[in-house]
Symmetry: C2
Subunit: 161 residues, 2 copies
DNA sequence: GTTGAAAGAGCGCGCGT
DNA sequence: ACGCGCGCTCTTTCAAC
């Protein structure tokens, strides 16, 4: 991946579109090259799909909860991971170092549903304890991972030369 | 938003594409109706853009850190929020109730960069203390918020009738 | 609100350079 | 890496229900 790829990905993130035409206007890269590059990025596994940016508040999933999960997983964490991911509403799950074993983020329709969620976690055998933190306001939701980086930083970090 | 809209959004999430043709195959909804619906969802603010699903590991942002930020924000949290979001690498930020004031998730190229990140937070005036948790493995990264829900649950939660 | 047909625009892809 | 051109998909409109 070189600077051009990075500029392309950043442009997609900034513009919020994958349209070759629009990307060409932004990056000055010829349309057919954009095509060529995007295909390579696809094959490299960097780009996986095309999706939409959803406004979760507008959708009706306005409640966000961050849950720390402490668990007793004997040996492998695989099975427990599966169970955690199986709980409806879980949008993110991280297996972590340190005091807590997992950090989970969930999106729910309303506060009432939080009870259901916590109960679902507590009902999992391996789970010892959960610690929930309510989110008052979601400042950034992670649907555009490249958003926070400047183009220069990205080029410096990710470009091969 | 009715059941049909929900089925459409779920299909987009499951298939990982916004292609009207593919969505038609999946949902049985005629192509021109899919167009009509998607436009309405756009105007309602539910759909905001079209993006790509990025594999952050493949991209070179393989390190994930969850940071709890304790801060002394006098009155409004707006300004502090801006400063937190200004730190490069921050993909998610939540203003929360409870012991911690903010929960932040960041994606970084390598562990060395974590130091830069923490320092950037500590350099913000209002920030009193930070507590970082390293992520060993990212089990789900939140780029498809509807993923965890079954179609039935979504219809029950979000459809108007 | 839903649908099909039809026309126009934009895209996907291969070839040649 | 880039331009060109063909065929295809998607987009938009419109008339009908």
């Amino acid at each position: 991946m070189d600077e051009r790829d990075v500029r392309l990905l950043k442009a997609i993130s900034d513009l919020g579109t994958g349209s070759p035409e629009r990307l060409h206007e932004e990056t000055e890269i010829p349309v057919s090259t954009i095509h060529y590059r995007l295909n390579n990025l696809r094959e490299a596994g960097v780009i996986e799909n095309e999706l939409y940016d959803l406004d979760l508040d507008a959708l009706g999933l306005g409640v966000t909860v961050v849950i720390e999960v402490l668990a007793d997983y004997s040996g492998s964490h695989e099975q427990l991971s599966e169970r955690l991911l199986g709980v409806e509403g879980v949008t993110e799950a991280y297996f972590t170092m340190g005091e807590t074993d997992f950090v989970v983020v969930a999106r729910l329709p309303d506060s009432d549903d939080v009870e259901r969620l916590i109960r679902a976690f507590e009902d999992i055998e391996e789970v010892d304890r959960t610690d929930s933190t309510f989110v008052i306001k979601s400042l950034r939701d992670g649907q555009r991972p490249l958003e926070s980086y400047s183009l220069d930083t990205l080029v410096g970090m990710l470009a091969d030369e």
